[in-house]
Amino acid sequence: MTEPVLAVENLTKTYRESGWRYRNHVTYALNNISFQLNPGQTLAIVGESGSGKSSLARQLVGSDQPTSGKVLIDGEDVYQLSASERKKKFKKVRMVFQNPYSSLNPHSRIGSTLEEPLKINTSMNSRQRKEAVHNALQRVGLRSEHASRFPHMFSGGQQQRIAIARALILEPEVIVADEPLSALDVSVQAQILNLLMNLQEELQLSYVFISHDLGVVEHISDQVFVMYRGQLMEYGEVDQIFDQSMHPYTRRLLSSTPTYRHTVEYLNKVNSPEFKKLAKKSNGCPFASRCPYAEQKCLDQMPKTRNISGQRVTCHWPLQD
């Protein structure tokens, strides 16, 4: 059996809202999240805004520390390691952001932006670093002479290529991409998507691919992880999620997307305002206020995540038609 390159176990991240109005209310950005990513595979994370996708990305690349739970890189729990060992582990997991321009330093030439992680993390000399920069630029379809230019001299698509080159420079095993296409036009999206697939096949990379575009998700991913309000709703192989989704929230997402509307059965019922109010106050299923299949039990009790022939579903009444 292959060992996962990246896994999380019961990952939880809370933020404390400050200010008197909130009375130190605690937001669960991530609530007990677990998954595994195998080498060369792509795991897509889907969910509406505010569901915790970016928070998850930050925990995965080590730019933020979870409140509780484990992050395992190559099978090792990184928070059990010494700080320097942990830093080495996180070199294998790198990030690409949604907005390439704001993620690049506008005052710094592309070459030095790309060299930066090498200076911090390796003992390469200047000549070796130049060569690594050259290779990374080639890999993403740019040329060595681009190293001397500034970010604003590039189009959005090229900037995203540069961001990918920066993520690649330390030769990672995993790339976490947080909505990497949503700032780009469709024809450029296709270019970047193709580049990501080329790189995956050449370098055996694994991806955590955060996206709200189900068409792209169906196209690129091996597994899909659907989350809502920081919790796992449904998790399974791409075929399972797109051909036999069992969770009402997954169905809701599919039925809201024109391309997939006709592929799923979904009750289009709106809950009464009274029910919504009760649901918002309850500690049951987070989706209950919007869920057309919700019953009293959904308000009384948080559903457990079940394993139904390899597909994880957090719902009292998984859909079966």
Partner: protein, 333 residues
């Protein structure tokens, strides 16, 4: 009578390098109650077209047109003031970011009532009643409460509904929606589009839906107009465009979107047009798609005209893609 009738509309801006033409001889027509989709990559001039129709171009823009009529009134015959007033009574526009169009310092009620007052309702009580009606029409729950709330207290989807309420306050015959859902979540997106289509049906309001999302157009529009670099490249019924695009640009856009059921396979790639849309002041000679076009040939250094193709629509290309049904027909002969 056409709802909207545009012949050869161009818009130019003075720059330090001389005039740049951001819209080049746009011609299009919309029937009363029609839903027209406008697509194209960013920078193709979609928003500029919307602003030109609405009379909202900045003062330094130079607009010319052989004919420009809205609801039968020739707009070019009106002076600027008359034109603005007439357009405001007949057409409205909503934009991508509702937050930027709403004033954060005033509550929803004040802003909505201001719009209602503009359209001639003077009595305070009537205004309020109309405001509540409008909020209900756009599916906002607890309208009484919303009137007192400020934009930051409402979600993005709710703010977009408020914008739509303001836009329909004057009962316009034409509503232009410029990427109305790009900034919203998919579940909210579909609700907003449904609302716009419902208003289209129940009020017989023409809708110009500007978007870069082909999937959206496939369900909601009757015709699609494809723009590139300030020109119309193809203009045909939605069915024709989707089943058999004749312009290489339209086909490229459609092919670069992953298709339903297309899943991760080793070596499988999406089609993608090489390069990117040219800067409007650095256009290629001849066909503007030329440097990126897979079908380009010598002839393409001459500018193609927007020509009628029988049983299809208008296409600007020297070498249009043969129709998929036509090819079959030829084989049968």
């Amino acid at each position: 009578m056409k709802l909207l009738h545009i012949e050869n509309l161009s818009v130019e801006f003075p720059t330090h390098k001389g005039n740049v033409r951001v819209l080049d001889k746009i011609s299009l027509r919309m029937n009363q109650g029609e839903v027209l989709g406008v697509v194209g990559e960013s920078g193709s001039g979609k928003s500029m077209l919307a602003l030109a129709i609405m009379g909202l171009l900045s003062p330094n823009a130079k607009l010319t047109a052989d004919y420009l009529s809205l609801n039968g009134q020739d707009l070019m015959k009106l002076n600027l003031d008359q034109r603005r007033k007439y357009i405001a009574q007949n057409a409205s526009i909503i934009f991508q970011e509702p937050q930027t169009s709403l004033n954060p310092c005033f509550n929803i009620g004040t802003q909505l009532i201001e719009t209602i007052e503009l359209h001639g309702i003077r009595r305070r009580k009537k205004q309020r009643q109309r405001a509540l009606e409008l909020l209900e029409a756009v599916g906002i729950t607890e309208p009484e409460l919303r009137l007192k709330q400020y934009p930051h207290q409402l979600s993005g989807g709710m703010n977009q509904r408020v914008m739509i309420a303001m836009a329909i306050a004057a009962e316009p015959d034409l509503l232009i929606a410029d990427e109305p859902t790009t900034a919203l979540d998919v579940t909210i997106q579909s609700q907003i589009i449904e609302l716009l289509l419902e208003l289209n049906r129940t009020r017989d309001m023409g809708l110009m839906l500007i978007t870069h999302d082909f999937a959206l157009l496939s369900e909601s529009t009757q015709r699609v107009c494809v723009m590139y670099s300030g020109q119309i490249m193809e203009n045909a019924s939605t069915d024709n465009i989707l089943s058999s695009p004749r312009h290489p640009y339209t086909k490229a856009l459609l092919d670069s979107i992953p298709h339903i059921g297309e899943r991760h396979h080793m070596g499988q790639r999406l089609y993608s047009l090489k390069g990117r849309i040219p800067a409007i002041d650095h256009l290629p000679v001849g066909c503007r798609l030329g440097p990126r076009c897979p079908r380009a040939a010598k002839e393409c250094v001459k500018t193609p005209r927007l020509d009628m193709i029988k049983q299809h629509g208008l296409v600007r290309c020297h070498f249009p893609i043969p129709s998929s049904t036509q090819v079959e027909g030829e084989r049968n002969d």
